[in-house]
């Protein structure tokens, strides 16, 4: 028997390995992360403190002075903005070279200006002309902008979910990537991912958009279904009708059948998203087409997918 199953879980399952996996999984630990000491590097200082009370007093005084200095200088968190062209504005002030964008402030470019925002140490955003963007949060675990209109290009090298951009109809959550996001006057957004992944989220609806794919949103509806950048025009139009325009059952079926007929193997991620978005009566059509393009792994059944079994959907995604 091949050892593929032992190696990465693929291939024909080895019954003995499966039995041992089930048996030994009971030995896993679920203990949470440890409480961390208040001060990192405490150990070195404590040795010094034990040997010198005077040094401790002096150090405490220094700490008090530094803390007081920081308190006096305390400001709202802000990010550096550099003008790349023209004179962008932060609030009511024009910036010719550079400035600081504080939480709550708007950065605005006109038709002849562009800017670059440094997102702390985790990345940067280039702001195109005719864009209005606001800094919402600049915390250690939540870096958040709001794009009201215009276009921005983000390059983020942080762990997933530390950086996000709110648009009028969805939130783009960075999963480690570079992407372009634009919002028109009607609040319609278009996300284009060039590397990594972005999650486009609205209440109860989430699209995972990989590199080389796009995703639209509409106010009042939220994120549409992601599709690859080189999908055919017919495929895109049918998907837009299905996501945002068709309300009648007949109209939806026509649009859905057009999407499925045009779909190729590379569109499997689009069809996977559709499984949980289409109406219950439409789901088996998507199942059948996806099954042809990327056969469901063992254990993923039509019935399970029909009731949107999360584990089955995830297993098919992993395929």
């Amino acid at each position: 028997m091949s050892d593929d199953y032992l190696w990465d879980g693929s291939g024909e399952p080895d019954p003995e390995v499966e039995r041992l996996e089930r048996l030994l999984a009971t030995l896993r630990s679920d203990r949470p992360a440890p409480e961390l000491p208040e001060n990192l590097g405490l150990r070195k200082r404590s040795v010094l403190f034990r040997h010198s009370i005077q040094l401790a007093v002096a150090a405490a005084a220094v700490v008090l002075v530094i803390a007081g200095w920081f308190l006096l200088r305390r400001e709202r968190p802000s990010w550096e903005v550099v003008s790349l062209e023209g004179t962008p504005r932060i609030g009511s002030e024009s910036i010719s070279a550079s400035g600081r964008l504080a939480v709550g402030q708007w950065l605005e470019t006109d038709s002849s200006s562009r800017a670059r925002i440094s997102i702390g140490i985790i990345g940067e955003v280039h702001v195109d002309p005719n864009t209005r963007i606001r800094l919402l949060k600049a915390g250690a675990d939540d870096h958040r902008l709001a794009l009201a209109r215009g276009k921005m290009h983000a390059a983020i090298w942080a762990p997933p979910r530390l950086f996000s951009v709110e648009t009028p109809s969805a939130v783009a959550v960075d999963l480690g990537c570079t992407y372009t996001l634009e919002v028109d006057e009607a609040g319609i957004s278009l996300l284009h991912v060039t590397s990594g992944w972005v999650a486009f989220e609205t209440e109860g609806r989430e699209s995972f958009v990989p590199a080389g794919a796009l995703c639209k949103t509409r106010p009042g509806i939220g994120a549409g279904t992601p599709y690859r950048e080189d999908a055919s025009e017919a495929f895109r139009l049918a998907l837009t009708r299905l996501d945002f325009e068709e309300r009648s059952a007949d109209g939806r079926l026509v649009a859905l059948d057009a999407v499925l007929a045009q779909a190729e193997k590379e569109d499997a991620f689009t069809l996977w998203h559709l499984l949980s978005r289409v109406r219950a009566g439409e789901r088996s059509r998507v199942f059948d087409r996806l099954q042809v393009l990327v056969p469901a792994p063992p254990g993923v059944t039509r019935e399970g997918v029909a009731r949107l079994d999360r584990q089955m959907l995830d297993r098919w995604w992993d395929r």
Partner: protein, 177 residues
């Protein structure tokens, strides 16, 4: 469709640097990403009843020593080495604790057969027992073990193959006797 793998590649270097500067959420993320690996490495070497505490020791030790991590991209292999050293240190320092742990094993509520198989794995050569525990107990795949520990995929595959062969022989011998 490889979303989970894409996430797995996200930036340990960034997290390690942030943790080194005292960023606790970053350290928490590293913990969730590497806890299984550390648990498995220790479980392959020390009594089971000691492992949970030692896992926490290893992470706290790593936090204190983060400034000795020369290449943040090698966080996984560096942490694996700390875990192996901690296991060695455990055996060097506490013979009494080992005996006490074995007494405690009798009261362990987990299936006796699981503990017996674990005991058999713990008697295999070191290279085999670590990869087998990571694969069979912690549920990591071979590629994941290689990526986390810094071992080459070829080494992990060979260790899994040979280790499993040895384990089958030992288990069959146990049943026969």
């Amino acid at each position: 469709m490889t979303f989970p793998l894409a996430l797995a590649q996200s930036d340990n270097a960034f997290l390690a640097n942030a943790a080194r500067k005292g960023d606790r959420p970053a350290f928490g993320l590293l913990y969730s990403r590497f806890a299984r690996m550390v648990h498995g490495i220790l479980l392959a070497r020390v009594p089971r009843s000691e492992v949970d505490d030692l896992v926490q020791d290893v992470f706290l030790l790593a936090l204190r020593r983060l400034d000795t991590l020369r290449d943040p991209c090698a966080f996984g292999p560096w942490l694996a080495m700390i875990a192996r050293n901690r296991a060695t240190d455990y055996h060097r320092r506490s013979r009494e604790t080992t005996e006490l742990s074995e007494d405690c094993a009798a009261q362990d509520p987990r299936p006796a057969e699981a503990l017996a198989v674990l005991s058999t794995i713990q008697k295999l050569p070191e290279a085999y027992r670590e990869t087998l525990v990571l694969r069979l107990v912690e549920g990591m795949s071979g590629p994941e073990i290689a990526e986390r520990t810094g071992l080459t995929p070829a080494s992990v595959r060979v260790n899994l193959h040979r280790g499993m062969k040895l384990l089958r022989e030992k288990l069959e011998g146990r049943e026969a006797s």
